[in-house]
Subunit: 239 residues, 2 copies
């Protein structure tokens, strides 16, 4: 499926557009993910370098279809300048919107994927811990198969937090887990709450929100469920 | 499937026996893996602590069915002493043989598994690097699905080495990959070699051997293929 996105730079006539390719071997560490972003804004290389890296870090480098990193992941931004100069913050906002849209499209079109899985970790000690724990959850095959089966399995989410065993400042008593807006741990749901969570899990977009209760840092990462489609695509051919 | 193993302590009348349980949520970091080892040798706790940790490190802690770590992994050794004292090295050999046999049985009986996958990394800088790279290979879903499909996909093995991106001393030009005894990279196989490798990949035990060419350290880790059986077991129920 083609992945395309575009956004207007606020307060200007400039636009940012992007196209991306990739379905598997995707946990980029900027390298089989190819992304081309174009804009007509006049953005000097020096000025755009830092915002570009920030956007890539919180979008493409926060994406994992299958934990496997390609040797050819690429993200390139080309600017023609014909729309003239723009405010850097406005440009970063438009660039971020395009990149995020492409990441959503990439995750939904991941090999065998039937759902977009978004994992947000809040109240972490620092950004590194937040992203490490979020990646541990989004990459866990037990979490990914639970999402595929529509099972609100908070035990697997807590397991994926717990296996980040270097993060000894995470206290199990402080951790909270929600599927969408519904906390499922430590507070337990009644029958009507369970019915609502079942609806959350049956949707095409599933959000897992985890609070670590040990700081103020946050990270959001993107992935997909793990289905027999992934196995068939990757087991049934020879090279 | 029950997992049982026993070995005689060399040069003594003592035996070591073990029983283990567990099929998924298995990449122990000693926690759903339960292992009970028993012996009639007279082994004082002080003397057995270090060899026990060494054996656990190179057997149960070198096993990964699905990268997910349980909260209850347990390995216990009970000694009655009735067979009298034994040589510590002889005891460690017998303990190691029992533990390795249980690890092979655990990997072969992993959720959805149809094959035992053994990954050995040699010529690494140090033991930590050797184990990190070996775990990256044994845990890669693309390597695991290739093994399931019987595909000698050395490209996926090299990818799994490459994604250990903190190990900047690994030079792609120095890396060698073999399936069983057949080098598949960098030397390329002719038609008869390919037919032999196809046999290696079709067997119930598949060995992937990787030489990093940057040192003298070695590690061996144990896992299994990734099949649609794993998905069915873990997606098709609710908690």
């Amino acid at each position: 499926v083609p992945k395309l996105a575009a956004a207007r730079v606020p307060n200007s006539g400039a636009v940012v557009a992007g196209v991306a390719k990739g379905v598997g071997m995707i946990e980029p560490d900027m390298a089989t993910l190819l992304v081309y972003l174009v804009t007509d804004a006049d953005v000097p290389v020096k000025a755009i370098h830092a915002p570009f890296r920030r956007v890539v870090e919180r979008t493409f480098n926060s994406l994992s279809v299958d934990t496997d990193t390609s040797t050819s992941d690429t993200c390139i931004l080309l600017a023609s300048g014909v729309a003239g100069p723009v405010d850097p913050d406005d440009f970063e906002a438009a660039l971020g919107a395009v990149a995020l849209s492409l990441v959503h499209q990439l995750a939904r079109d991941g090999e065998g994927a039937t759902k977009l899985l978004t994992v947000t970790v809040t109240e972490a000690r620092d950004a590194g811990q937040a992203k490490r724990v979020a990646k541990s959850i989004v990459n866990s095959p037990l979490v990914k198969t639970a999402v595929h089966g529509g099972d609100p399995n908070w035990g697997r989410v807590v397991m994926a937090v717990g296996k980040c065993s270097d993060d000894l400042d995470i206290s199990p008593a402080a951790v909270k887990v929600a599927f969408g807006d519904f906390e499922v741990y430590p507070s337990l749901l009644d029958e009507s709450g369970l019915a609502k969570v079942a609806e959350v899990m049956a949707a095409g977009d599933v959000a897992v929100n985890v609070s670590l209760g040990c700081g103020a840092a946050t990270a959001t990462v993107y992935g997909c469920d793990l289905s027999d489609g992934y196995i068939r695509i990757n087991a049934d051919y020879t090279t």
